[in-house]
Amino acid sequence: MIHSLFIINPSGDVFMEKHWKSVISRSVCDYFFDHQRKASSPEDIPPVIATPHHYLISVYRSSMFFVAVCTTEVAPLFVVEFLHRVVDTFEDYFSECTESIIKEHYVVVYELLDEMLDNGFPLATESNILKELIKPPNILRTIANTVTGKSNVSSTLPSGQLSNIPWRRTGVKYTNNEAYFDMIEEVDAIIDKSGSTVCAEIQGYIDCCIKLSGMPDLSLSFVNPRLFDDVSFHPCVRFKRWESERVLSFIPPDGNFRLMSYHIGSQSIVAIPVYVRHSLCLRESGSGGRLDITLGPKQTLGRTIENVVLEIPMPKSVLNCGLVTNQGKYTFDPVSKLLVWEVGRIDVTKLPNIRGTISLQSGSPPVEANPSINVS
């Protein structure tokens, strides 16, 4: 299973290492650095690298690499999934996961890693349990600890791991019992230049924040459960109940968690909330290229569209852009050639528009095709 873990920052420093079995020299990371040099972007580094004696399985999160070293056969997805869980746990504990935060809380991080894996095999990965074993740091407690000399390791021993419901801690008490549910839906669509949808998919999540005392048993029913034909659940959800009744029945963990996520595939018809009317011409005629893009809402069911961002990766020959927007602001990074237009909210009465000229490198061959436009 997982032998060691190295956390590497973007500049290639191994700033934390943890070994669960005998120590493996950090020189093993050199293989990783070789691949890093070869790759054009951090995303292009293969997640699994085979070296003569070790296998490096890495994930890239928050501009850090988490490199797990294995020596024997193991399901790569197992390791990948675990590493992501580690990062999720850090984010859960420290609210964000950056190099400086990890360095700041190295003791907690180390303790967490120690609890999460035993001999390279996951031991406790439920955030509820971990939080009972190791209290997450916060300012109040830090001050209290300094004054009283107490530590953030809990002195009472947890019982959750020992119950049949490993994801919920026992003895939860709230004066206000409340439960919040967030529904997040992401639409991914590929639209061709004539504006017709090539494929569109929906990925949705239900995130919960449950603050209920005791052992609540909740059920959540949907008006139209038939839409969810491809779902995945938090382990607390009872599969059988869902299969027979399409009702989510569960004893929730305490605090924040993702109850379910669902996927609506490309077979179904998905309404896309915005449309883009574009005219982009990158010909070397006089002033260079022209660009004119208008955004508009589509099938919004009366809701406003907010936080619209438009990204255009420009071809290499583009030098700069002189554009005017009637809403939001745009930036163009001459190094990565990425044009980003932060539109914000779409007002139906005055559709956001960006237009202007693009200066091209003189003498470079005319660009063959227009770049793609990413809207998010």
Partner: protein
């Protein structure tokens, strides 16, 4: 405390290690930003001394501070071993955090400081006896993590103790310790296996995952240890933690491959199958296949697949993929595609997950095209994907291309060619080439497209196209003169060596088609020969030789010239080739004799027709590795990879898996003997998951009958042929379920059928055949080993009570349903039309957390008549209580209505007329039936809230516009209650609270003595919807239920003093219900 020698040696190593620490400048920078050894200590020469001092102090917070700094050093990977003696003595610290950090340090350095580490051992030994399970567990964890050979016996002992510990958590830790000890000392294997065997028998979900992990690490070859645990593992699988699930499924995949026969053995050839469009349900073919497939699947094999399936819904991608590989490697071919949807869902996860899943899909897609075809669009490339993801997607797209889908794929590929990512563009062009050569219909289109790319501005695009075209032309040797000419022209402009070489090769191969151009190109190339790349030079030589053979007049000299140039080339390959070619073509140069034998054959050698390259997916050869494994991903055998054995031809004895079960409350019906029926239905059932009809079928049917009932039914009819399905079925029922006449109106089912047969034509009986058929079908997916689970841990039973009742009614309210409407209808669709009794996202807390609703074990088959055909001029309505709660409201009992038109006329618009409104009684109508043709029958469901009384509910049935018939729905007392599950203690406690007036007792002597009290269970459960309470005492039987409306508890206990005499006690808040129930029970037990 320590020997002076030790001390001095450590200080020595301290200074030396410190010196070693210094030189690299990067280190110095790091030190400065390191909170662990802040500037002050850093500049201090004796920083470690300082730490030592802090560790020696009496104050916990100083110690803690010091430990934190030390851990900081460890985390950074800097040497801190010289502090070992100072740290190790703090292992006795009372402060938990200090202790924890000391443990962390100890595990890291114990290997290097073996002697000193021994000092800490006694502390752990003491902690192993601690009353707190967590302390015992963590002591074992650290003790086993100390890699010191000397303590092996101690660890061994500790593991043995811990494996028998009361606490499952400690046992889990013991399981973790086993591979640690094994890696430390391989000689302990035998002894460890013994411990492991014990742990594998464990029934706690917490332990089994880790036990299987240990098994995999220590003795994966001892597959015999699994036999007895196989069924348990399958039934616990869903509740094991996600990491354990992955390990267990992977292990069971291997197990299945060694223990079960190949389910696809007698199947049609793979290619044949993949060629047949999947969704075309040609019945004969399907049936033919089923016939072949049916007998092969072992019931345990089925159990494994069935228990793993719900895990496809796991949030953990690793679990999903491991289920996918289980299906890929062991499932019958018709079922494998079920995993596709879940795999597609994973594609929305993190980049790394995508990469690994796509690799698996790419490998699978080469063999199982149809599986992913419906999801083709999910593999379309997004501009935001990383390059390697894009390449994998392209690979999959090309593998999936078929005649029907190639159009849309090519359209996409065309767009990709315009992308800005060179490797991706190249791959896209290659993909076009692969599509072209795989699918003959589009070859010409693709070729034209590729040729048009030749005029692209981008060199790379042109070069790639040239290479691809070359391959394509090879597969299509028919005249493509134009293309060859166009490519010949490109020689002047293209600079990419690969492309140039390809063009030259093409010209040489097909020189007869362009007799004028080829020599000219050779002339040009000869001129530039010296400045070409090696690969091009080789092709120039080849071209020269080929031309020399076909057209010696024009080119012989040129050829000699080229060979001459090559002779003096820097590259030895080139020189070698030149020498070799020269001796074949111009043997006269060497000897003055005539042409040698070789040179006579030169034409045959060089111009032999060459087989066209078959563009194949490079994922094709990965089949040898287990899907989703590391070896599969890197396509080489990784260390410790366990080969997946081929299926045995003859299955090993399945009895090995039989476990002696304790006597159980229910007689254990042979759960999985129903293989024939179930596996047969399976394929049709799942083959169309997308279509709503099928889903509806599932829902409706599973709600029609209760699972357990089905199992029994299946069991009885399992070994018979389907042809005589009906007869077998009903007779089976009679044998199995003693049908009690509860009410005077009630008739056993078989009677009813007979009657139907008499009074009616063939039509109706065939209808009922199809009915019973569909029931079987439904039972298949849901007859999970529920009983086993229940017996294993009754407290955690999470079986839902509320089965969705078919919502025909609701659906029909809105829909124009054709008259050909059959019972097979209505899915979850009902859900959104259903008026909810509570707001749509309701959050309700259960009343009694300990009393879990349980599903009925038996659903009675007694049907009663609601409407007589004489009274109603032909319409007969029968009803049967299904014991599943009605979807509309849990307090409603649902009754299944069977409408049968015995009359000569078509009946239209059958619906519920006036309903009672008083007394808390309410009715949820069945769906109005638009029309019922003569001789046909239909099913409907009505929900009735009896308000906890057994008074018949009167309402009206209306037919058409003018006919109204009053009817009375009578309910036996056993149906106004619902089975619940509770623990024995709770039962006794509740019983204690329901004494006096609420208690009814009756004595009874049986006509024939019964040897086992449990055999009465069935009788009782047929009469009343009661839940069986697990029981330790064999002379008592206990049952529990709640009334439907008011949820008041009903407790029944049966006590036998000897085999003849019984005492029945019913405790119920509702005295009327209690007394009625006892009368009923007495009546049923008496006969």
């Amino acid at each position: 405390m320590y020997a002076p020698g030790v001390n001095s040696s450590t200080t020595l190593s301290s200074s030396s290690s410190y010196n070693n620490d210094r030189p690299p400048s990067a280190e110095a920078v790091e030190v400065a930003t390191d909170p662990a050894s802040g500037g002050f200590f850093n500049s201090d020469y004796k920083k470690h001394d300082d730490l030592k001092q802090m560790l020696d102090s009496n104050k916990d917070n100083l110690k803690l501070e010091a430990m934190k700094r030390i851990i900081g050093m460890v985390a950074k990977g800097r040497e801190a071993s010289d502090l070992f003696p100072a740290v190790v003595k703090n292992v006795v610290s009372k402060n938990i955090e200090v202790k924890k950090l000391v443990y962390v340090y100890l595990v890291r350095y114990a290997e290097e400081q073996q002697d000193l580490a021994l000092l800490s051992i006694s502390t752990f030994q003491r902690a192993l006896k601690d009353p707190n399970q967590l302390i015992r567990a963590s002591a074992l964890r650290v003790l086993s993590s100390i890699r010191v050979t000397m303590i092996v016996p101690i660890v061994m002992l500790a593991i043995k103790d811990a494996a028998a510990d009361m606490s499952p958590y400690v046992r889990k830790t013991a399981a973790h310790a086993i591979p640690k000890l094994y890696s430390l000392d391989q000689d302990q294997k035998e002894e460890l296996i013994q411990v492991l065997e014990k742990l594998l028998y464990d029934k706690t979900t917490l332990v089994v995952g880790s036990a299987v992990m240990a098994f995999e690490e220590v003795c994966p070859e001892r597959i015999d240890l699994i036999h007895k645990n196989f069924r348990k593992l399958c039934s616990l699988l869903v509740d094991v933690d996600e990491w354990g699930q992955v390990v267990i499924i992977n292990m069971l995949t291997r197990y299945a491959r060694s223990q079960f026969t190949d389910p696809n053995l007698q199947d049609v050839d793979e290619d044949e199958e993949s060629k047949r469009p999947f969704y075309e349900d040609e019945n004969e073919v399907e049936e033919e296949q089923q016939e072949k497939r049916a007998p092969t699947l072992d019931p345990d094999h089925r159990l494994l697949l069935r228990s793993a399936k719900p895990l496809l819904q796991s949030r953990n991608a690793a679990v999903v993929l491991s289920v996918a590989q289980l299906y890929h490697h062991t499932a019958p071919r018709s079922e494998v595609h079920q995993v596709a949807k879940a795999m597609i869902r994973l594609l929305r996860s993190h980049r790394e997950v995508q990469d690994i899943v796509l690799t698996s899909i790419a490998a699978t897609a080469t063999r199982r095209k149809v599986m992913f075809e419906p999801f083709l669009k999910s593999f379309f490339v997004r501009s935001s994907d990383a390059t390697h993801i894009k390449l994998l997607k392209l690979e999959i797209l090309t593998s999936l291309a078929t005649e029907s889908s190639v159009g849309i794929i090519l359209r996409e590929l065309q767009t990709y060619v315009a992308a800005h990512d060179p490797p991706f563009v190249a791959a896209a062009i290659q993909a076009i080439g692969r599509c072209a050569s795989n699918i003959k219909e589009v070859t010409d289109t693709c070729l034209n497209g590729l040729v048009s790319l030749l005029s692209n501005k981008d060199q790379a695009v042109v070069a790639e196209s040239v290479v691809v075209i070359k391959k394509l032309l090879q597969t299509q040797p028919s005249a493509h003169r134009e293309i060859i000419i166009q490519m010949a022209k490109l020689v002047d402009s293209v600079t990419v060596p690969q492309a140039r070489a390809s063009i030259l090769w093409l010209l040489g191969e097909y020189s007869e088609r362009v007799p004028k151009i080829a020599p000219d190109v050779l002339r040009k190339m000869a001129k530039t020969f010296t400045s070409e790349e090696d690969i091009v030079k080789l092709q120039v030589m080849t071209l020269a030789v080929k031309l020399c053979l076909t057209n010696p007049k024009q080119t012989k000299l040129l050829c000699q010239y080229v060979l001459q140039l090559a002779k003096y080339d820097q590259n030895y390959d080139l020189r070698d080739r030149a020498r070799f070619l020269r001796h074949i073509i111009f043997p006269a140069d060497a000897e003055s004799g005539g042409p040698t034998r070789l040179s006579k054959q030169a034409k045959k050698i060089f111009l032999a027709p060459k087989p066209a390259p078959v563009p194949e997916s490079h994922f094709k050869d990965r089949e040898q590795f287990q899907l989703g494994s590391l070896s599969h991903y890197i396509n080489t055998k990784a260390n410790g990879y366990q080969e997946l054995p081929p299926f045995p031809l003859e299955a090993p004895d399945p009895k090995a898996r039989d476990v002696e079960t304790e006597p159980q409350v229910m007689e254990q019906a042979p759960l999985f003997t129903a293989k024939k029926v179930s596996s047969k239905k399976d394929s049709t059932f799942y083959s169309d998951t997308e279509s709503p009809e099928d889903e509806s079928e599932e829902d409706e049917n599973s709600s029609d009958e209760d699972d357990d009932d089905d199992e029994e039914e299946e069991a009885s009819s399992s070994d018979k042929d389907d042809d005589d399905n009906e007869d077998e079925e009903s007779s089976g029922l009679e044998e199995k379920l003693p049908i009690k006449v509860v009410k005077s109106t009630a008739k056993p089912k078989s009677d009813e059928e007979e009657e139907e047969d008499e009074s009616d034509e063939e039509d109706s009986s065939s209808e009922s055949v199809s009915d019973s058929d569909s029931e079987d079908e439904s039972s298949e997916p849901s007859s999970v080993p529920k009983k086993q689970v229940r017996n294993a841990k009754p407290a955690k039973e999470s079986t839902p009570v509320a089965k969705p009742k078919s919502n025909l009614d609701l659906l029909l309210d809105l829909d124009d349903v054709s008259p050909a409407f059959t019972p097979i209808m209505t899915p979850s669709l009902g859900g959104f039309l259903t008026p909810m009794s509570t707001p749509s996202s309701q959050v309700k807390t259960q009343l009694f957390p300990d009393i879990q609703p349980a599903s009925a074990v038996i659903s009675p088959n007694t049907t009663s008549e609601l409407l007589n055909k004489i009274n109603s001029n032909g319409l007969e309505i029968k009803y049967r209580f299904t014991r599943s709660p009605h979807l509309y409201s849990p307090s409603m009992a649902s009754a299944e209505l069977t409408f049968h038109n015995h009359g000569p006329d078509e009946l239209t618009d059958i619906r519920v007329g006036e309903k009672p409104t008083s007394g808390g009684v309410s009715i949820h109508d069945f769906a109005p039936i638009p029309s019922l043709s003569p001789g046909s029958s239909l099913m409907g469901t009505i929900g009735v809230d009896f308000a906890d009384s057994t008074q018949p509910v009167n309402f009206e049935i209306k037919i058409g516009s003018d006919r109204t018939y009053p009817v009375a729905l009578k309910v036996p007392v056993g149906e106004v209650i619902r089975a619940v599950a509770m623990s024995e203690e709770l039962f006794l406690k509740q019983q204690g609270g329901l004494r006096g007036m609420n208690e009814n007792t009756a004595k009874l002597s049986l006509t024939k003595p019964c040897t086992d009290l449990k055999s009465l269970t069935n009788k009782i459960l047929t009469v009343a919807n009661l839940g069986v309470i697990p029981n330790s005492d064999s002379s008592t039987l206990r049952f529990a239920a709640q009334t439907l409306s008011s949820k008041s508890t009903v407790l029944v206990s049966l006590l036998s003093s000897d085999n003849q005499n019984l005492t029945i006690t019913v405790n119920c808040e509702k005295m009327v219900i209690g007394s009625m129930l006892i009368t009923q029970l007495k009546a049923c037990l008496a006969d």
